[in-house]
């Protein structure tokens, strides 16, 4: 009994933030955004440590079970959240806005992600995904001008409700057929089947469709783009950097642990939407003048790229996609850190024309952005090249020439989109004056760039252990 409480420590700390944060919000006289950021970071460190300690222990193995695979995805997501909480506090300080509710909603989401990544039962999915969607909507609404984000939150809420209903229906159909919600039982049941009933396939489509919505794959991406363009910067950063890793981890877990028999059916479906996402993401990024929207499309492109690489869910494909996702998220984290420094007269800049000649005033920040963008393009010798190499080499090994061609063509469009930003920052004359950036932004950029450069010299150092763990799933 006591052992189970210990195993639940990560979840306890995630929920514990509400209690402690709530008490601080109510009783502490001096409150700054830094107070809650520090509190959030302390709790998150505890969560990370306990997640690693109990990486293979489970209190309720029938509902969710920690595995090396789930722990690795969760740990990276928590680390991203930790860094972003620290940076977000600078935004709240600058805007002089209260931050408790933002951190509280993020912790609720992290709690949901914790369960989702480790789910071993469809009932866990059916419960936790609506929970996540509910708090996601709350997160989008975290804006001082509610009118701007309300339509987006409404649209998101509507589509989330539709996809949650589909998820429930899919889960129900599978339950009717197999008599269980447990991944292992469902996997064994369908493994014995030679031909799948249309209802089974429909159920799988409904469940996978829900994941596509969560991952904001095209054509379910419009809410994501709208949210990124209108929501406040801390929210934009969080929804770009943290959830994708968890969703991909949960999808791998679902496909390998439960729906493995449907892999051949799911692969073309997923492939189609992944290719669509990477193409639309790459094309649309070119036509955007809003820098946030541009990178929102690029993050959709990155998710499409990662999914294209792992549609068959083989061990090597999952490893390649994981490596790619980590690198892409690192680069996007760098880009969002720079966004926090793109400030003129107290306002955060989102129109690309206002950053013309930015490098003349902020050479180091521009240099960092340059590295992150070249990494997104996958140009050697940046770390991004390693991510692309992993995925494309895997496709060549599988003789997937068409997919390889599509990836390379889309990469050209991404390069073109990034070129626009580089051109405006470096080759155009200066048009605006920029506010002084916080030291924390430079520190984070320095750490990120150092991490990218050090990993470039020895990429195995970055994810060798992760690869060993992921190698075990093949």
């Amino acid at each position: 009994m006591l052992e189970n409480w210990f195993i639940l420590l990560p979840e306890i700390f995630l929920l514990g933030f509400f209690v402690v944060g709530g008490l601080v919000a109510k009783f502490r006289k001096v409150q700054t955004p830094k107070t809650f950021a520090s509190l959030a970071q302390i709790f998150l460190v505890a969560v990370i440590l306990f997640s690693i300690v109990f990486y293979n222990k489970s209190a309720f193995p029938l509902l969710w079970a920690n595995t090396p695979l789930s722990t690795i995805f969760k740990t990276f997501a928590y680390l991203m959240a930790w860094a972003w909480f620290y940076l977000s506090s600078k935004w709240f300080l600058n805007k002089n806005r209260p931050s408790f509710k933002f951190y509280a909603v993020c912790f609720a989401l992290l709690f949901g992600f914790d369960i989702l990544a480790s789910a071993t039962s469809l009932i866990s999915l059916a419960v936790i995904i609506p929970f996540i969607c509910f708090f996601y909507r709350r997160l989008i609404l975290r804006h001082w001008d509610t009118e701007r984000v309300e339509p987006i939150a409404k649209a998101y809420g509507f589509f989330a409700a539709v996809f949650c209903l589909l998820l429930w229906l899919g889960v129900y159909i599978i339950y009717i057929q197999t008599g269980s919600f447990e991944y292992a039982i469902i996997r064994d049941f369908y493994a014995a089947e030679k031909n799948f009933a249309p209802t089974s396939l429909l159920a799988v489509v409904m469940i996978i469709g829900c994941f596509m919505f969560l991952l904001s794959l095209v054509p379910f991406h419009l809410w994501f783009i709208a949210a990124i363009s209108e929501a406040v910067l801390p929210v934009c950063g969080f929804i770009t950097l943290v959830p994708p890793l968890i969703y991909i981890g949960a999808l791998i877990n679902l496909m390998k642990g439960c729906l493995v028999a449907f892999t051949d059916f799911v692969a073309p479906l997923l492939c189609f939407f992944a290719v669509l996402s990477l193409l639309i993401g790459a094309f649309s990024a070119n036509s955007e003048n809003n820098i946030r929207k541009k990178f929102a499309f690029l993050s959709i492109y990155c998710i499409g790229f990662a999914l294209t690489g792992m549609v068959h869910f083989s061990g090597s494909a999952v490893i390649a996609s994981f490596a790619y996702m980590i690198i892409a998220i690192l680069s996007l984290a760098g880009v969002y850190t720079v966004f926090l420094g793109l400030k003129s007269k107290g306002e955060y800049i989102s129109d690309i024309t206002y950053i013309s000649g930015f490098y003349r005033l902020r050479p180091y920040m521009s240099a960092a952005l340059l590295i992150f963008m070249f990494s997104l393009i996958g140009l050697a010798p940046t770390l991004g090249f390693f991510g692309y190499l992993s995925i494309i080499n895997n496709l060549v090994a599988d003789n997937s020439w068409f997919l390889m061609g599509v990836l390379l063509i889309s990469l050209l469009f991404v390069a073109s989109a990034c070129f626009q930003v580089i051109r405006i920052i470096y080759f155009e004359p200066l048009v605006s004056k920029f506010d002084r950036a916080d030291k924390a932004i430079y520190i984070c950029l320095f750490i990120n760039v150092t991490f990218i450069l050090a990993s470039l010299i020895n990429p195995a150092w970055l994810i060798s252990n992760a690869l060993v763990i992921l190698g075990g799933i093949s």
Binding site: S316, I319, A320, A323, Y359, P363, A367, L370, F374, I377, L379, A380, P381, F385, F386, L389, S390, I392, N393, V396, A397, M404, L408, L411, L412, A415, S416, F419, Q420, I422, R423, Y426, F427, E428, N458, P459, A460, S464, L467, G471
Partner: protein, 476 residues
């Protein structure tokens, strides 16, 4: 033979470290501190000393790669980075270092934005050195692509383009070439593993997608060479560059393509393929003729320099395709002399152009009054025109005689193109030497002494390379 210590990695790292130091250097524009310039010059000279040492460590009589260094880079996929050198690669490294040093010294007084200029130049130098020491397909590809990044920034920031959006095309064009090469490299890796460059002959034409791999390799390399129909993007950028350092860096880009052909192209090409070489010769010759004719008509000295560079690059490419062992053995010396000549010529002609712009004067007759400049200009123009003044002479003679013996008609046209390109340069020299009263440029505008001394050293190097190409190597 393995490297005694990681000396080849060191010669990649020194410019890179120089770049990091330059990043931290403090620039004071008012006091003209030249901090970043000093760091850049020091880094290049330090590396030149190391390169000199490497020359003494290798056996220059053999064509085999030597001083192998191997690093485990990735486990999934299993990729090692392998470095090694031979005479050809070392000569290319030396030439690129010297020519970029010339460029750096030429822009010493360009105070505004000197720091990023030096940063990207050192990064470019580090990446191009990496390309020339690469001894396996993956490290070769990584550095082949990595050269683009600093070059693109150099051209965009310092090329003086009024409409920088056009550079996007140049960037994407080069990226397409890199992706085609990437595909070929992955195919090679799939069937042959991480091949070292001395084993490219193992890639079979008739098996394992050989018919895809070889054309993809050739296409990837040829994207870097301004041969028709690939000439547009390079010529549209290079011929308009007004910064000598950037022009030199952009002219090193085709060198990477030529070097790649010299390194990869196997000797055992089947007849079905080699029969198509005649078409390549014809296309190359037509390109050379057209570009040299345009240069002859064009009044812009920069275009004449660009045409000279292009014509000779194509000549060397055709020399490599001739599959003549003697030509292949000596191509390094020819390229060494050629790179030095075009770099030095760009420095002096750009110096004239800058004085012309500064004093808003016609430069006709300028050389009558500027003795230092006159000597350098004349020497370099004659060296470029093919007079026996540098290593270019002997080796160009070899290549042309080989091409003449294979196809007399093509050989004649090739010679004609070279003569027209040379005539264009000589015509420009005579314009500068014919006195003109409208020219207000005089003795006071002559080349500064420090730059002249360095250029004399380059002239000395060129003459010595004609007498004995590896005169500076002391056998141990």
């Amino acid at each position: 033979m393995n490297s005694p210590f990681a000396i080849l990695s060191l010669i990649i790292c020194i410019p890179f470290l120089g770049m990091l130091f330059t990043l931290t250097a403090k620039e004071d524009i008012d006091k003209k501190t030249h901090n970043s310039f000093n760091v850049a010059v020091f880094s290049i000279i330090a590396n030149l000393v190391m390169i000199w040492r490497v020359f003494m460590l290798i056996d220059e009589t053999t064509l085999k790669l030597q001083l192998f260094e191997k690093f485990d880079w990735l486990t999934v996929p299993d990729i090692n980075l392998v470095f090694a050198v031979d005479n050809l690669s070392l000569l290319m490294i030396l030439a690129v270092h010297l020519v970029l040093l010339m460029g750096v010294i030429a822009v010493r007084d360009d105070i505004v934005n000197q720091k990023p200029l030096m940063v990207f130049t050192l990064l470019f130098l580090s990446m191009s050195t990496g390309l020339f020491v690469s001894a396996d397909i993956f490290s070769f590809f990584i550095f082949f692509e990595a050269m683009l990044l600093p070059l693109f920034m150099l051209i965009g920031m310092f090329g003086g383009f009024k409409r920088p959006e056009r550079l996007g095309g140049f960037f994407l064009y080069n990226l397409i070439g890199a992706f085609i090469l990437f595909t070929a490299v992955l195919l090679i890796y799939k069937f042959y593993g991480s091949l070292t460059l001395d084993r490219t002959g193992d890639i079979l034409w008739h098996q394992n997608y050989g018919w895809w791999i070889w054309p993809a390799l050739a296409l990837g390399f040829i994207f870097r060479i301004p041969i028709w129909p690939f000439h547009y993007w390079i010529s549209s950028v290079s011929s308009k560059l007004r910064n000598p350092l950037v022009f030199i860096a952009s002219s090193v880009l085709p060198l990477s393509g030529i070097y790649a052909f010299a390194r990869f192209w196997p000797s055992n090409i089947p007849l079905e393929v080699s029969q198509y070489f005649i078409w390549l010769n014809i296309i190359g010759t037509i390109t050379m003729l057209f570009i040299s004719l345009i240069a002859f008509i064009n009044r812009d000295a920069q275009y004449k320099n660009f045409a000279f560079v292009t014509v000779y690059y194509i000549l060397y490419l055709l020399g490599i395709f001739s599959q003549d062992k003697l030509v292949l053995q000596n191509i390094g010396y020819a390229l060494f002399g050629f790179v030095m000549v075009f770099g030095a010529l760009e420095i002096v002609s750009n110096y004239v152009y800058r004085q012309e712009q500064l004093h808003e004067s016609n430069s006709s007759g300028f050389l009558c009054r500027a003795k230092r400049l006159s000597f350098l200009y004349s020497f370099l123009t004659f060296a470029a025109a093919g007079f026996p003044l540098s290593a270019m002479f002997t080796n160009n003679f070899l290549i042309l005689s080989r091409l003449l013996s294979t196809h007399i008609q093509i050989g004649v046209f090739l010679m004609l193109a070279c003569i027209i390109a040379a005539a264009a340069l000589i015509k420009e020299m005579f314009r500068l030497k014919t006195d003109n009263k409208e020219c207000v440029l005089g003795k006071a505008e002559d080349m500064p002494l420090y730059q002249f001394v360095f250029m004399i050293f380059i002239v000395f190097m060129l003459i010595m390379s004609f007498i004995r190409p590896l005169w500076f190597v002391i056998d141990e």
